[in-house]
């Protein structure tokens, strides 16, 4: 620490200014990228780091990518120490040097004041292709990283403002789609936006003052997080969850086991007893799993805590190499981000009794599909990720119902449905239904969020449908007397009247035109005894058709009359049994 006098007002202003910069970088990405995964689903994060890689601030559109940037930044700072110059740009995706997923490629730009390296700006987004055996990267047959992706350990692609064309060509010669180059240029552009803004901020207050106030900001944020942790009773809490089907061995199961130790103002998540890694692609990396841990815990604390180094300092995460959450080299790991939902389940189960008012019941897990083929109307290829179909409900919590149709916990409502009419413009499919799924929510004093049903008619012959995800074996769990949500399901009803149910990690080729695609995304778990839910609210949900008369009666003990209005006498009788 220097002996600059700390101006507490400036600390507050600095925190706000850093957030404005990462937000601006995010807008730049959203507006200039091509791949719908980036510009529609916003599967990217932008951030600023200090010279050593400590997080200054981030804008986390998709939180699961978010907590690998700081470790990778520190790795690059170390690897290139003495070899970093103004105007440099570095790329990185390598999961064995702290990357979270092969497709998530990061750009880093060092920021200088004069000759001094003072910070880094970075952007990481899910790229539409990253080489490997299968277009798009999801290869359920992969057993090693090279079958999944091109590895990009930290490399310098621009030095002192000059493109290293040979390096650039080597990378993009190994990636199928032209738009990946353009989207990586967009990442660099966003880093430049961050660089310009941060430099003008530092010049305004002076470097020495900036550094001192940054440290104070970290300390202030750390205090906020420590206060949240202190509010949890000391002790060690254990939780467990199951990962179903590794993509290779039908019926296979793996256990995630976490021991959470709260010691005053420090918290440790220890996964040492978690099962060993799989021989397929259902494996996590250290940073994908640590991100899952952090984002789950952040949903249990004050949501207004700034996201900087101070926030993560009181948190330790132990994940031994060789487990399913931290697979050893050279494992396949593309499915790793999607181990977040079961990881979150284990954490929630562990902490539910310690902080019952801060946890949710279980969330619906991701089950996602994408379709590709030739659009006969345009004689052109199309690809669609069916975002609208995958979004089930969140878990209920003390004082409030779950959120309907929100989607997996690792995005928490950050990924949006494609618009129905744009879906029919951009694919040859015809949407028949996308509505809340009756009785999908876990029952409870507070019910889980509703799931949805999606049905469309496939509009092209020889369509390929790729499926990845979970939630088809075990439903979202309820808490404290609350009920379970419903399961995920995908079915293909072929024109010849046969029905095919794909596995949760599958590739179905040759789907004919006229096939009916049906998907159900399940509801979230309920919280508390359903018999305590206000009867008028239950009757209202019957009237609105999201709850059946039978479930209202059997599970909630609520009777309605023929006009679907609350039958008070009948309800009293049911509830007094």
């Amino acid at each position: 620490m220097t002996d600059v006098k700390i101006d507490k007002v400036l600390v507050a202003i600095l925190g706000r200014a850093l957030k404005a910069i990462t937000d601006e970088m995010s807008v730049s990405m959203e507006k200039t990228t091509r791949s719908p995964i980036l510009c529609e689903a916003k599967d990217f994060v932008t951030g600023l780091y200090d010279a050593e890689g400590n997080m200054l601030e981030q804008t986390e559109n998709l939180p699961i990518l978010s907590f690998s940037l700081s470790p990778v930044c520190a790795h690059i700072a170390e690897k290139f120490r003495g070899n970093v110059f103004p105007g440099d740009v570095f790329f990185h995706n390598d999961v064995f040097t702290l990357g979270n997923q092969n497709n998530d490629v990061a750009a880093f730009k060092p920021i200088f004041i004069g000759d001094e390296l003072v910070a880094w700006s970075a952007t990481k987004g899910h790229q539409a292709d990253i080489g490997g055996a299968v277009r798009g990267g999801y290869n359920p047959n992969a057993t090693e990283v090279w079958q999944e992706a091109l590895r990009i350990p930290a490399v310098k692609v621009i030095e002192r403002g000059v493109l290293r064309q040979d390096v650039w060509d080597l990378i993009f010669a190994n990636i199928r789609l032209q738009i990946v180059q353009e989207d990586m240029r967009a990442e660099i552009g966003a880093c430049t936006v961050g660089e310009r803004r941060l430099v003008s901020l530092i010049e305004k207050y002076g470097l020495e003052s900036f550094v001192a106030h940054k440290e104070h900001l970290f300390a202030a944020t750390k205090k906020l997080m420590q206060a949240e942790i202190r509010a949890i009773p000391d002790g060690t809490y254990r939780g467990e969850s199951t990962v179903y089907f590794d993509g290779k061995n039908p019926g296979s199961e793996y256990q995630i086991r976490v021991a959470i130790t709260v010691d005053g103002e420090h918290i440790t998540f220890d996964y040492s007893k978690t099962d060993a890694q799989t021989n397929g692609f259902v494996n996590g990396t250290y940073t994908s799993s640590a991100s899952a841990t952090i984002l789950t815990f952040l949903q249990m604390v004050n949501p207004d805590i700034p996201h900087n180094q101070g926030m993560v300092e009181p948190i330790d995460i132990v994940i031994p190499e060789g487990t399913i959450l931290n697979a050893a080299y050279p494992a396949a790991t593309t499915f790793g981000n999607h181990l977040c939902p079961p990881n979150a389940d284990a954490i929630i189960r562990a902490l539910a009794d310690a902080i019952p008012e801060r946890v949710t019941a279980g969330w619906n897990q991701l089950l996602c599909s994408l379709s590709t083929g030739m659009d006969p109307r345009k004689d052109d290829a199309y690809i669609d990720i069916l975002f609208m179909g995958l979004k089930g409900g969140s878990g209920a919590m003390a004082g409030c119902d779950g959120y309907d149709h929100i989607g997996m916990i690792d995005a928490s409502g950050g990924i949006l449905d494609q618009d129905y009419e744009m879906f029919e413009q951009q694919t040859p499919h015809l949407l028949l239904e996308h509505e809340y799924l009756q009785d999908s929510a876990g029952a409870g004093r507070h019910r889980g969020g509703l799931g949805v049903v999606t049905r469309y008619l496939v509009g092209s012959d020889d369509t390929q449908v790729v499926i990845f995800g979970d939630g088809d074996v075990e439903p979202a769990f309820g808490l404290f007397g609350g009920g379970e949500g419903t399961l995920n399901k995908i079915e293909l009803h072929y024109p010849d009247a046969s029905v095919h149910t794909p596995t949760s990690k599958d590739l179905v080729a040759g789907v004919p035109k006229g096939t009916l695609y049906v998907q159900e995304a399940g509801g979230g778990g309920g919280y508390g005894d359903p018999l305590e839910r206000p009867a008028a609210q239950v009757a209202q949900e019957v009237r609105n058709g999201i709850l059946s008369i039978e479930v209202a009666r059997e599970t909630y003990g609520v009777a309605v009359d023929d006009a679907l209005r609350l039958d008070e006498a009948g309800t009293r009788e049911l509830r007094s049994r």
């Binding site: 706000r16 202030a220 949407l431 999201i546």
Partner: protein, 691 residues
């Protein structure tokens, strides 16, 4: 003598701006009457009559034009007090309205709830019947489904019906058939049909907009009826015009057809007035900021026209109609200061409002607000606030800041107040950054026009934060929106979807769409009495590169449409894309795709000239009131600061900061590095030295 009056009904105050044929302008403020805002409007007119020593009837008879901005539709939406509404939609998609594409705006906050939909699920009725992506019928419309839905609507007392079917943007026949049946079965119901309200592709945008339109329809209808009756009873025989969110005005009969066009009309007048004042400085580009009691709005004017968005949100509900591009943040005079558990200072977004108000009002407010800090810093004269109508209690301001800010931060009261001032200025600067840098503009290139009662105290420091060299505080700063209403044109926006690659466009079809919209616009302007020579028609296309997801709206010359000049259209698009995002693909052979065709029909109105002041000497001595102890923020110390009477300043007066300029409706803080100069319209121009 005849008068024109602009009336802006806000949540707390109704602002009135009067322009007489003699060239004088006057401003008035009266308390709003939220239960029936037309009462407040008439109260305001009575105030004007009293000031002119005449009866209301005499005044009313001399009023040529009243332009009226209202928040009745906005408030009905925010408080969910709109009409009981039913939705007829395509079977299978009735939940799109409530799902809002599945967004949760706060990702880490599990207590953050979805918004209550304007139509409950049991009144959202799916109807069999289907068009394909190109508008061709796949399944005929089911009359049985429709009749069953309408029976339910009638049973439960539905007052407004929205109709929105899949793919109806290209073929409105199913919707027209449904609408006819609604008219026959429920003749009293207000009807909102998507293919008339917003015939564009994107189902969620259309259904949400159509429902909003239905939900506020009966409210606007009732309010305008009440207002026109009261005005007629008072003897008003002039023209009443209503301000719309697109910055234009329209006759009440016209706004009743698309009531949702009034949903964000409140601040829409400001930019036009701002441009009128900056014109005296030789520019029609500016940033407009408006700081009131609870919020701070920032908007942008280029070439005299307000920057617009083609869609936005009202209470997290999508409204896809052209509206002023505006950023609103929770920063105002009533913003409450607080410290968090880690000892950091925050201002807002919570506000003490008018009641209980800031601690210094002595109305029971105990939380320290921005206004309390401004009293402690010496910026507001406790004995002479709001033109002497109110006395501020300095001790109460100091006490609230001492207990809740100074002690937790370990500062003295003065330093704590200065900290509050800095934090709220930084927050507002981010709002200005939002409307400029995020769309690729440099705020330093624009003068900033400062409006609202509280804005002028903070403006210099916001400008410092963003290195903006020039500020302008108009003489009508506190009622700028009301003034702008008298400077607005009649304006109507239309849009049609036509999804096609630019190269494959059927030019006759494109021209047909434009002609159709021109017909509609001309018809409405004719109804409003605009002669043909005052009508202007602007065409724009929503274009994107193939496989992009976001369109860019590009103005295109009418000639290019008529002659089918694809090259000019493409060039305009490449240029606009480059301006916005820093690159284009003009040379890359990447195809361009058309999504929407837009037409804006403008009926130019005759606008009054801004009045001019007598010229005076450079020295402002005649207006010098004295001095008082106040905080000079750039050098962070208290000084004996000169105070000027803003109403006594003459054109050409010029002096350096630090200084305070007091007017009855606002106080201007000229900080150390700024020079103030009064221009011929009475605007106070503030220029940063050395810039």
């Amino acid at each position: 003598m005849s008068f024109r009056i602009g009336i802006d009904v806000g949540g707390t105050f109704t602002d009135l701006f009067l322009w007489s044929s003699a060239g004088a302008v006057e401003t008035y403020k009266t308390l709003s009457t939220p239960e029936d805002p037309s009462v407040g409007v008439l109260n305001g007119l009575r105030r004007i009559a009293e000031a002119h020593d005449m009866e209301l009837e005499d005044l009313a008879a001399q009023i040529e034009t009243i332009v009226h901005g209202t928040t009745v539709t906005t408030n009905a939406t925010l408080t969910r007090n709109g009409a009981k509404t039913g939705l007829l939609t395509t079977a299978g998609v009735r939940d799109a309205l409530e799902m809002r594409r599945g967004i949760r705006e706060k990702q880490y906050d599990n207590r953050y709830q979805n918004v209550t939909p304007l139509v409950p699920r049991y009144l959202r009725r799916g109807v069999t019947g289907r068009l394909d992506h190109a508008g061709a019928e796949l399944t005929p419309l089911s009359g049985d489904d429709l009749r069953a839905a309408l029976r339910l609507f009638a049973d439960v007392g539905v007052e407004a019906v929205a109709v929105c079917f899949m793919n109806s943007f290209g073929n409105g026949e199913h919707e027209r058939a449904a609408a006819e049946l609604v008219r026959a079965e429920m003749p009293e119901a207000f009807l909102s049909v998507s293919s008339e309200v917003l015939p564009t592709v994107r189902f969620y945008n259309r259904v949400s907009t159509t429902v909003l339109n239905a939900y506020v329809g009966p409210i606007l209808h009732g309010y305008l009826s009440s207002l026109t009756e009261k005005l007629a009873a008072a003897g008003f025989a002039g023209v009443l015009l209503v301000m719309q969110s697109n910055g234009g005005v329209a006759l009440p009969e016209v706004t009743r057809l698309r009531p949702a066009t009034t949903l964000l009309s409140g601040p829409a007048g400001g930019p036009r007035a701002a441009a009128a004042y900056t014109r005296a400085q030789g520019t029609e580009d500016c940033i407009v900021v408006d700081m009131g009691g609870t919020s701070f709005d920032a908007s942008l004017v280029r070439g005299g026209e307000a920057a617009m968005n083609n869609e936005g949100d009202v209470d997290r509900l999508r409204l896809a109609l052209p509206m002023l591009a505006i950023t609103t943040i929770g920063a105002g005079g009533g913003s409450i200061g607080w410290t968090d558990e880690s000892g950091l200072l925050h201002m807002g977004p919570q506000s003490a409002g008018a009641l209980p108000g800031p601690a210094c009002y002595g109305l029971g407010g105990e939380r320290p607000t921005c206004t309390d800090a401004n009293v402690v810093l010496g910026y507001l004269d406790p004995e002479d606030f709001a033109g002497g109508e109110m006395t501020l209690l300095t001790e109460q301001a100091r006490e609230s800041i001492r207990g809740q800010i100074a002690e937790p931060l370990g500062l003295d009261v003065d330093a704590a107040a200065a900290g509050m001032f800095r934090v709220i200025n930084a927050n507002m600067a981010h709002g200005v950054r939002d409307i400029t840098v995020k769309v690729g503009l440099d705020p330093r290139e624009f003068p900033m026009v400062v409006a609202g009662g509280a804005g002028a105290l903070h403006a210099c420091m916001i400008a410092n934060e963003l290195e903006m060299p020039r500020l302008l505080v108009p003489p009508t700063a506190s009622v700028l929106c009301a003034a702008g209403m008298l400077l607005s044109d009649l304006q109507h926006d239309y849009v049609r979807s036509y999804v096609s690659r630019l190269a494959d466009i059927d030019l006759d079809a494109l021209r047909g769409l434009v002609t159709e919209m021109i017909g509609e616009g001309d018809g409405q302007l004719a109804l409003e009495g605009v002669p043909d020579e005052r009508i202007e028609r602007q065409v724009a296309l929503d274009l994107r590169y193939l496989k992009q997801y976001h369109e860019v709206t590009v103005a295109v010359p009418m000639d290019a449409i008529q002659s089918g000049d694809r090259a000019t259209i493409a060039e305009s698009f490449h240029a606009e894309h480059n301006r916005l995002y820093g690159y284009d693909l003009a040379g890359g052979g990447m195809g361009i795709e058309l999504i929407n065709v837009r037409l804006r029909a403008i009926g130019r109105t005759e606008k009054p000239d801004l009045p001019e002041l007598e010229a005076g000497p450079a020295a402002p001595d005649a207006a010098r009131k004295g001095s008082r102890r106040a905080y000079a923020p750039e050098t962070a110390r208290f000084v004996d600061m000169p105070v000027f009477d803003g109403h006594a300043l003459a054109a050409g007066n010029r002096f350096g900061g630090p200084a305070l300029i007091e007017r009855t409706d606002t106080t201007i803080l000229v900080t150390e590095s700024f020079t103030a100069e009064i221009d011929r319209h009475g605007s106070c121009l503030l220029t940063r030295r050395g810039s």
